[in-house]
Symmetry: C2
Subunit: 319 residues, 2 copies
């Protein structure tokens, strides 16, 4: 009797383990989106008409609102962090704009001054230093600043279901890339820790760089001004430049219609491909927001992309 | 007796195999350069003070004159190939410059017209088509055109010792990249076949791109004009943009001093690093050429880079 009980217990443990193992996406609810992902991965990895050689299993993910929360933009928090660091080092700055407005949380100033002043703030906080110094600032930011609304570490502001998806894809021979509007040297400081995506697989916006090798400096200087703003039609352009292959899986989010061309580019692959778009419809656990013209969701309908409802498709949002 | 002979033969075969296996660089002659490579790889992969985590084992190689022969420039041969293709499709072009000069092998025309006309020819032959069409042209070129002086397939114009080095590095956990002045979409069509380097690990010069998704076209259009000419100080800039890590091994060649800043950037790594520069000193088996000011070799001396003498360090040049 005791032996039977033990045998039963063991077999139960084994089947639970097997079940856990058989579901690579435990934070995803059963439904058409999860099914489409699993069917797609099965199709492209199984010998047959839809098989894709491992070298061409490229997956690209947007970052803001797709892999981590974007309300507020985490890189915006970094700009504020930088202002405080710069003012601490040089207190006179706190009487100068745009530092003053940041320190005093004077949103009206930026509303009045417009985009030009926001770009100016971006340049002030992101340039004028070496790449090495910038990476140190970014690391310090992630290690000290908390998310203002989620009240967690920034390392916890990422979507758990997406982490599972990234791991699932990699376990099936995919090479996973970030392709985001955030600047590349900002994201790549933490991309490996957060998502298991190495620095060289991060595509993003970037400032002007200049190589300096003189007077004891051997580094890339970060200059004001952008060389590329990796959004909308620039995403396929930078994917071509960096990867040179169309992603067979592309995942973005609705909110600013920044990802629709990356998804269209993916859809032009000669291979079977899958396009996913995260819908921010979960006011309770994350946020609820959309586009005025509903462009992303309209295109999703037109082109048969899978829309991920955070509310319905994810049983867990944050880790 | 027969048995003894058989046993001896087997043991000889085994030890020959073991010997072959123990030398990862059989086309390299014994000497300080080969020793420096093997000692370096051993140091960075062995637990201890010089150990480098696999994720940071980045190696970058120039292409023209470093991985394949650059007399003449293979991408120049492609421009000529393209002119012939364009004229075949539209015979009227053969009476127009610069097509006429190419067809008639009129070098004087380009010497007189100068760099501007060469850039114009480059744009005419490399732009005005989709990335997909361009890749097909490049593939056709490599499959049909022979090397004019080596009299071999272009696939044979690569340096065998460098192939061994690339394989040796990868076997030791390195990620190998091309970082060359050639345009990225030209090299990456063959980089995997030639060197085992996937498209996404090729850094190069590039034209302007524009993403088009209309009228049945869903592709990257190649426009005239360069976004980056990946040479000299631009190499560290593009390494930073694409990889975001300093290479711990960088290999270039003397001839145009195009690689010295890539090597300096590598040398600025906080890790132990190795810089290599190919010296074209082998008129018999390849070519003999140098720089008027000897900049690369002077810097090699100043900064303790290893100079690879094709004549002395390589027992075989081409496969």
């Amino acid at each position: 009797m005791k032996r039977l009980f033990r045998a039963l217990l063991i077999s139960m443990l084994i089947s639970t383990a097997a079940l856990a193992q058989s579901d690579p996406l435990p934070s995803w609810n059963e439904g058409p989106v999860k099914q489409s992902i699993i069917q797609f991965v099965h199709a492209v990895t199984t010998p047959g008409t839809d098989f894709v050689p491992p070298a061409d299993r490229i997956a690209t993910f947007d970052n803001d609102g797709t892999l981590w929360a974007e309300k507020p933009l985490i890189q915006g928090l970094f700009a504020i962090f930088r202002v405080h660091r710069m003012v601490a080092r040089n207190p006179a700055l706190k009487n100068q704009q745009p530092y003053k407005a940041v320190i005093e949380k004077d949103k009206g100033y930026f509303e009045k001054a417009g985009l030009k002043e926001i770009i100016h703030l971006f340049n002030l906080t992101h340039s004028g230093m070496t790449s090495t110094a910038f990476a140190e600032e970014v690391q310090l930011f992630f290690n000290t600043v908390k998310h203002p609304t989620l009240r967690t570490s920034l390392y916890q502001a990422i979507y758990k279901p997406q982490l599972e998806l990234l791991n699932y894809l990699r376990a099936n021979g995919f090479k996973t890339f970030i392709c985001s509007g955030g600047t590349v040297d900002f994201m790549r400081v933490v991309s490996d820790t957060l998502y298991g995506i190495p620095a060289e697989q991060v595509i993003g916006s970037e400032l002007k760089y200049k190589y300096v090798d003189s007077a004891g400096v051997n580094d890339i200087m970060r200059l004001p001004g952008m060389t590329t703003f990796n959004d909308k039609q620039e995403k396929p352009v930078n994917i071509q430049f960096h990867i040179g292959k169309r992603p067979i899986l592309a995942c973005g989010n609705e909110g600013g219609a920044g990802d629709v061309y990356m998804l269209r580019f993916s859809q032009g692959s000669p291979y079977k491909s899958l396009q996913l778009i995260v819908n921010h419809d979960d006011a309770a656990r994350e946020f609820e927001y959309g586009e005025k013209d509903n462009k992303s969701l309209n295109m999703a309908k037109q082109y048969y992309w899978q829309v991920i409802s955070m509310k319905n498709d994810w049983n867990t949002v944050f880790p």
